[in-house]
Symmetry: C2
Subunit: 331 residues, 2 copies
DNA sequence: CTTTAGCACTTATTATTTCCAAGTGCTAAA
DNA sequence: TTTAGCACTTGGAAATAATAAGTGCTAAAG
């Protein structure tokens, strides 16, 4: 259905369009394919009929459709080696042993945005294979305590809680002791039910006034269980792309970046590096999202790169794979 | 120099322009001042010569200059009462006793942006009257510890640190013990020097292999001392203003919001609610920043509202004052 | 001295027209 | 199957014209 020269033409058009952001005309491919513009035009027409190419108007050159990008990504794209210069930058992340994981990830984001000029995001969420390692309730004033939860993977969360009434120091340390005795080692996604069904019924036997403290810890913990961190780099980068040359598109994408739902669209579901083009991204028809999931040290992380549909696919994929592999080696 | 009617005209022009975002012509003020447009024109000319008004072009109506806004804000503006509806929203922050301070502040931001349709920011930084209350070093693996620092104001910071070599559990708890014994009660801005001059010299007597652990804690602590939190709400709101109708201005302001220097421009220096118009904001000539400083529970917070120069000054100032007063009462 | 009516003048904005470059589809011949 | 040739379409830039809003100034009136 789609011949070899046509594949090659599609590839050239996608790559040319990625480079220049301008529709590609038949004449510009003549030298490369050693044939006349009419021949190219015939093939282009064919590719258009099959849905791989589009025109902006009747007499414009061709641009790839989403289907065209998809075909390119699935069958035509060649992986791109990381350039020496870029490799040097990436090395700074992994050669520095002092850097702990979360700093390494942040640094990676920074470098991705710097090299690609796209927007990058990392989304972290304590994963279910964290076990509770330690609980602390630290009195601050007579009516406030700070509750601290630490997991065996080293994730720490804290929350300052107002008690609704004055509570005795001794009670606080007793509560803390009981919580530790009964909860240490519990997977975090089982803590809630253990709290409710095993601890709540008996804690009254040891601690008077237990309700206030129980509630305080419960609140702190629920904070922990749902906590997500989102970090962006180069949010403004995408605006540099020529596809965002009119106000409404710019305002639109900026609003989407600010909205809360963006988190769901970004969260990776696959361990591989996956590409979501235009509509597939469910974020905005004008963007491509390339994302992957990394499970690291008890945290599920999603890293995503957001750019225009004419993104440098090969470059970004190679880079994400490299970073993913090296982070996992480090972790 | 500037007569009573002229003041009144200036006030009307500022308020009209704030409402409509369009230059104000002489005719539109006739009814209000019960005189002909020519009279108004004479006064306008005078106000322009004094620098309070500007024209966009020779035959346009007048708009306030930055000096005009400044005069309005300093001498003409009347404080605006908070509407019943808005008051209701604000009450939800302060009536809820369960809400701890940092949640209350976040909630305030949200409501400010919601009511005003401007952008709001809060900037927090541990202030110098925090004293160290507790230090913990918790081993996670043989080569990682989590260092936790807690102050008497309930601020908690933690950092996971890679040790460069394997360290014995006992050493860790000994170090932790010493740090606590010697540091508890120390104001956080004196911890660094105390660490270096009092603890480093003697810790070797108690803990072998102390260097690794000392460095780990030192790193965790320096993380703490410099940590700043920045929270935005309604970042995209400002784009809704008609002054941002061309791409470049939009891209410009978005980039500025993303840049790191913005923090310096936002940080409040004054306990009062202060207004910085256009250039005065040092952020962008097209915006006004209204900000104030709140010292709360051991944290220095700056709250800022960013909007167009034709901001609803009265409304925002009243609202910020109300929030500031009530947060300080709560804290 | 202040206010007003009248008028010529300026400018942004919008719509209309004209022109050009780029590129297409199609036909007929090679 | 490829190519040359040509009529045709479109977006975009530049030029032109028409309109609305509002000014400054002058001279007369209050």
């Amino acid at each position: 259905m789609i011949g070899d020269r046509q594949k090659s033409i599609l590839k050239s058009i996608v790559e040319e369009y990625i480079k220049t952001a301008r529709p590609v005309g038949s004449k510009s491919l003549c030298k490369k394919f050693k044939c006349s513009s009419a021949t190219i035009r015939n093939d282009m027409l064919n590719l258009e009929e099959l849905g791989y190419l589009e025109k902006q108007h009747i007499s414009s050159g061709r641009i790839p459709s989403e289907k065209g990008y998809r075909y390119y990504v699935d069958y035509l794209m060649e992986p791109k080696k990381i350039s020496g210069e870029d490799m040097l930058k990436l090395q700074t992340i992994f050669s520095n042993n002092e850097l702990n994981l979360s700093s390494a990830i942040e640094k990676s984001l920074e470098i991705i945005s710097d090299i690609t000029n796209y927007t990058s995001v990392v989304l972290g969420k304590a994963s279910s294979d964290n076990n509770l390692q330690k609980v602390e309730l630290i009195p601050i004033t007579e009516e406030t305590v700070v509750a601290i939860v630490i997991t065996d993977k080293g994730i720490v969360e804290n929350k300052q809680v107002n008690l609704s009434e004055r509570v005795d120091m001794g009670e606080i340390s007793k509560t803390s002791e009981i919580l530790n005795k009964m909860l240490v080692g519990t997977p975090i996604d089982e803590v809630s039910s253990k709290l409710e069904f095993e601890i709540k019924p008996i804690i009254g036997n040891y601690v008077k006034n237990y309700e206030v403290l129980y509630n305080a810890f419960y609140e702190a913990f629920s904070n922990f269980a749902t906590k997500e961190s989102v970090k962006w780099r180069g949010k403004a980068n995408i605006l540099k792309q020529p596809e965002f040359s009119n106000v409404d598109d710019v305002k639109n994408i900026v609003s989407k970046f600010e909205s809360k739902e963006v988190v769901n669209k970004i969260e990776g579901t696959d361990d591989e590096v996956k590409i979501y083009i235009g509509k597939e991204s469910e974020l905005d028809d004008n963007v491509t999202v390339i994302k992957t999931k990394i499970r690291l040290n008890g945290e599920d992380m999603s890293i995503a790169v957001i750019g225009p549909k004419r993104m440098e696919y090969g470059k970004v994929v190679t880079m994400l794979e490299y970073i993913k592999d090296n982070l996992e080696k480090k972790g």
